[in-house]
Symmetry: none
Subunit: 141 residues, 2 copies
DNA sequence: AGAAATTTGTCCGTATGTATC
DNA sequence: AGATACATACGGACAAATTTC
């Protein structure tokens, strides 16, 4: 079948469903999500669509994926004592971020850190900040 | 040519090239990037690969895409009163960044801050860091 | 106003590469 | 070495938003 994405696109619906399972505890923090192949069967969607749904969850801070291992539901640590390579964590808005987001200082934000490597060297580090409950994300449409 | 992604994946190389054009001014802030169809021809890559490259640029804060319009290079010196003008500045590497870049704490890094707005609201704040001297981008490894 | 062209968005299917178990 | 799981890449088709004629 072609592409009848009335209203919400398929990957969005799937992402919402998986997010619901995580928030409800059906998939506990730290637990592994079903493999892409399993989700493909369950939702009757192409693998690419499943992957896009999971990518959306990652961007929203609900999951973390590791190459040959799988995707884990995120346990967002309130750590301010940051040392590890936590790719994702909660943090409190400082003055600058609070101003930008128009919230009060101390409001919880999600910080994600990505590293672009060139061979063994780190070429760039990217840090993204956003409020929790972000929806779709026009960036990708 | 199936999928030989030795070293850097194709979309990564393309993203780096496009980013270089933006940073160098070859594609001025606010300007439209070539359409996906054009980039597909230029790089001889599938459309999906081009789209992934552009998605990477979005995540790094270098571009913003709108549905039937196209992808614009993000404007750095935005108006508004809340901006300390320069969205790009030098800063000293903290412990975390120093570790990643394998340099000493206090080494000068370039920090770029992009503010992605959705309407009047700030949706995301993206900060990218990279070494000053060295990199810009060997483009290829 | 309307139709066509342009451009990005979604989805499917297939194949191969890479990391982990 | 084999199996499992995620990653990259190609190609095709149709949908939706915008611009152009």
């Amino acid at each position: 079948m072609p592409t009848p994405h009335y209203g919400q696109p398929r990957y969005r619906v799937i992402a919402d469903e998986l997010r619901k399972r995580i928030e409800s505890g059906a998939i506990p923090p730290g637990a592994l999500l079903p493999a892409e192949s399993v989700l493909t069967s369950e939702f009757g969607a192409a693998r690419g669509t499943i992957r896009k749904a999971i990518a959306a969850l990652r961007e929203e801070g609900y999951a973390v994926t590791e190459h040959g291992r799988g995707t884990h539901a995120t346990r967002l640590t309130q750590s301010s004592a940051d040392e590890p390579a936590a790719s994702q964590r909660e943090m409190q808005a400082d003055a600058r971020l609070a101003t930008l987001f128009q919230v009060e200082v101390g409001t919880t934000l999600i910080e994600r850190e990505a590293v672009i490597r060139r061979g063994r060297q780190v070429a760039r580090v990217i840090r993204t900040y956003h409020l929790r409950r972000t929806d779709p994300d026009p960036a990708e449409r």
